[in-house]
Symmetry: C2
Subunit: 416 residues, 2 copies
């Protein structure tokens, strides 16, 4: 396929950022359903935490004022019997985390105190300051404190903080619904037996996992490659936030039916706004708008499909679901053991593997820049990838490069 | 609480690695259910990919041998009409990815060929090598190739590779089932209204999310703190791979009932093998074995509970589910803006935040080393944490330290 002119990747990215400007609206979920979701609004505390003064250790709660003047020569005796009358001030055994009695303002640790023979009283031989071993009401946070910012993804720690604040319902960004329209004529879905003259469909299972990783939900339609109206019908149903059309992105004779299906028909259409983008693998990808929905036309070849998703469609899914729009991989600096070549004019994605030398990566030889081949080199052989900007001829050996890693633990296992 | 002797964290870790030696057995799942799971065995290709020679570009398939001797002075004409007799060799239009006809071994790209007026033939003016623009059978991988290693977690790329190989069922490590036994007497579960004299239960929702992050499933029991037999009954049911007992880890008066419940009763018991471990927050944690199951006794204070899970119980869950056993956080090197203090003899976990200076972190002031307080400092204020080994007095300002980060994108947003 040959495009007369390829659009710079940055222009395609700018189109996506403009047309898919913000995240979807909020939905209200109970806390137990919220892990992994993105907050649609700031969360503000509705009460103090802790909700009362509480003991910060196991021990005995008492009124600090009663210990004034206590010394080895002038011990002050505290009794547990609250109803006793007389000159003895009272104390009460208390467990770490329990609310202080109303007449106490300090806690003496259990191990610093020796009880009398009956276990009913003890002596204090030095003054205790007000608030000793007391965690004051609101020490964690006060009513009105902003606990979490809009845009935060709810992990285990956030679940704990929300529970601490007694919040039962949270407003999170709704998950974008993505429709996959598989037009590839030479693939068969898994489970249909070994196809004759066709390969198994790689793109739909791969994209499903990618979209779910990015916070979206997926439906799959398979209109085939026979009729443009069948493809158009599968694309234009207005029940998705994003449509991804797979296959038919080239300019070959059997791609024309797909391009025909995506042309401007109704006022809500823009058709293919951009077709042919200067990155590899995946340069035949296109983006546009049909029936009011942004759509992405991705190449059917699995490796090209993968990268066209990551660079284009995934960005839109991540934006709608409230995630960071960039590539969702860890980046580390590595030195490169060998030259990684790249053509000027293309952003190029090249798989790399870690070498036996710490902090050094090397390109995977034979991984084609515009692969029609399978995913083996990318998946089974690579530890990550580099993205080489369009103005660069590649990365010289020994140069440091930012590597997107598939697995953090392989690069730097935790000592703890 | 005061322990006569604290066990070094490394000894506790060694106990876990010995008692929870390997991952659980395999279970067989259909591919669509497998994302996020860990492979229990190597996956070996059962067929070649691609399954046939296929076109690597849109163009015309032909027999390379027929182009021998072709030149501008001696063009060779190819005709599409397969049934025509005569001296003309035949060619066939072919789309990228389609199987080559049996009598073809090369593909000439569409854009390099000019068809005759009727569109039925074209001329070739230089020889074409065998295999030009052909992706050979098995170019991706061959039958018998190891596609993925045991222990790999199935992400989107792996889903694509498995689909390409036509694999419909995969053997993955079974998810460990974890029972949470909440004994805290001064907390109430969410949804029970604002409790009087009690706080909301933070630990169960937080641990549920942590365990699910680490690949486990969760059930929750709340026997309270009244009777050791009730606690024992909740602990000893043999339907979990791991039991986590929350609260009662200290040596206070109201902790004794929990310790009583965990003592050695039956031949399958070891009781508390280790109690009191030299790390903070969370030093009152314990580990042991009851009714044949490893159990973890975690402090009820949320911050201590969090870290005791991460350092101890989480390690066991991650081992059983086939994950890397270490802390599942990204690690980056940062400089520290201020001294981070730590006591010798304790592994200490200290929250840090990124400063406005790139590559520099600072400790969060006021975060107590053994927090009874809430999660606010850890969750809302921290970008990550450092773990200071037991032999260190802390990290000097300007020193580089390995920081475990909560969010990769905050530290190094992707350019693409």
């Amino acid at each position: 396929m040959v495009f007369a002119r390829l659009t710079p990747l940055a222009d395609a990215t700018a189109w996506i950022d403009r047309e898919v400007a913000g995240s979807l609206e909020a939905e209200c979920l109970s806390l137990s359903k919220a892990p992994g979701r993105v907050l649609a609004r700031d969360v503000v505390a509705e009460r103090d935490s802790p909700p009362f003064d509480r003991a910060a250790t196991d021990g005995y709660a008492l009124l600090a004022g009663s210990t004034l003047g206590a010394s080895a020569y002038n011990p002050v005796t505290f009794r547990f019997d609250r109803n006793a009358t007389g000159t003895f001030p009272s104390a009460a055994p208390i467990a770490l985390g329990s609310a202080l009695p109303p007449d106490a303002d300090a806690v003496v640790p259990r191990q610093l105190v020796e009880l009398d023979a009956v276990g009913n009283s003890f002596e204090i031989i030095e003054p205790v300051a007000v608030g000793t071993n007391v965690e004051r009401v609101g020490a964690g946070f006060c009513e009105g404190t902003r606990l979490l910012r809009s845009g935060v993804r709810l992990g285990p720690n956030e679940m704990g903080l929300l529970a601490e604040s007694g919040i039962e319902l949270v407003e999170v960004v709704r998950r974008p619904h993505v429709r996959l329209v598989v037009t590839s004529s030479d693939v068969a879905p898994l489970g249909s037996g070994v196809p004759r003259g066709a390969a198994f469909d790689v793109d739909a299972p791969m994209l499903t996992a990618l979209i779910e990783r990015d916070g979206g939900t997926v439906e799959i339609r398979r209109p085939g490659r026979e009729s443009w109206t069948a493809i158009r019908k599968a694309v234009a149903v207005q029940s998705a936030e994003i449509v991804i059309v797979i296959g038919g992105s080239g300019l070959g004779a059997n791609d024309l039916v797909v391009l025909e299906a995506l042309r401007k028909c109704t006022p809500g259409d823009q058709g293919l706004a951009i077709h042919g983008i200067a990155f590899r693998p995946g340069s035949s990808a296109g983006i546009g708008r049909i029936a009011g929905m942004p759509f992405f036309l991705l190449p059917g070849s699995p490796v090209s499909c993968l990268w066209a998703y990551e660079m284009l469609a995934g960005r839109a899914v991540r934006r709608l679901s409230g995630r960071a729009p960039g590539l969702p991989y860890l980046q580390y600096e590595f030195a490169t053991a060998r030259k990684i070549v790249s053509d000027i004019g293309f952003v190029e994605i090249r798989p790399v593997r870690l070498t036996s030398m710490a902090g050094v990566v090397e390109p995977i030889s034979g991984a084609p820049p515009e692969g029609t081949g399978g995913l083996f080199a990318t998946v089974a052989e690579a530890d990550g990838f580099v993205v080489i900007p369009e103005g660069s001829e590649g990365i010289r050996p020994g140069t440091r490069a930012s590597v997107y890693l598939y697995d953090d633990q392989r690069a730097s296992p935790s000592r703890f």
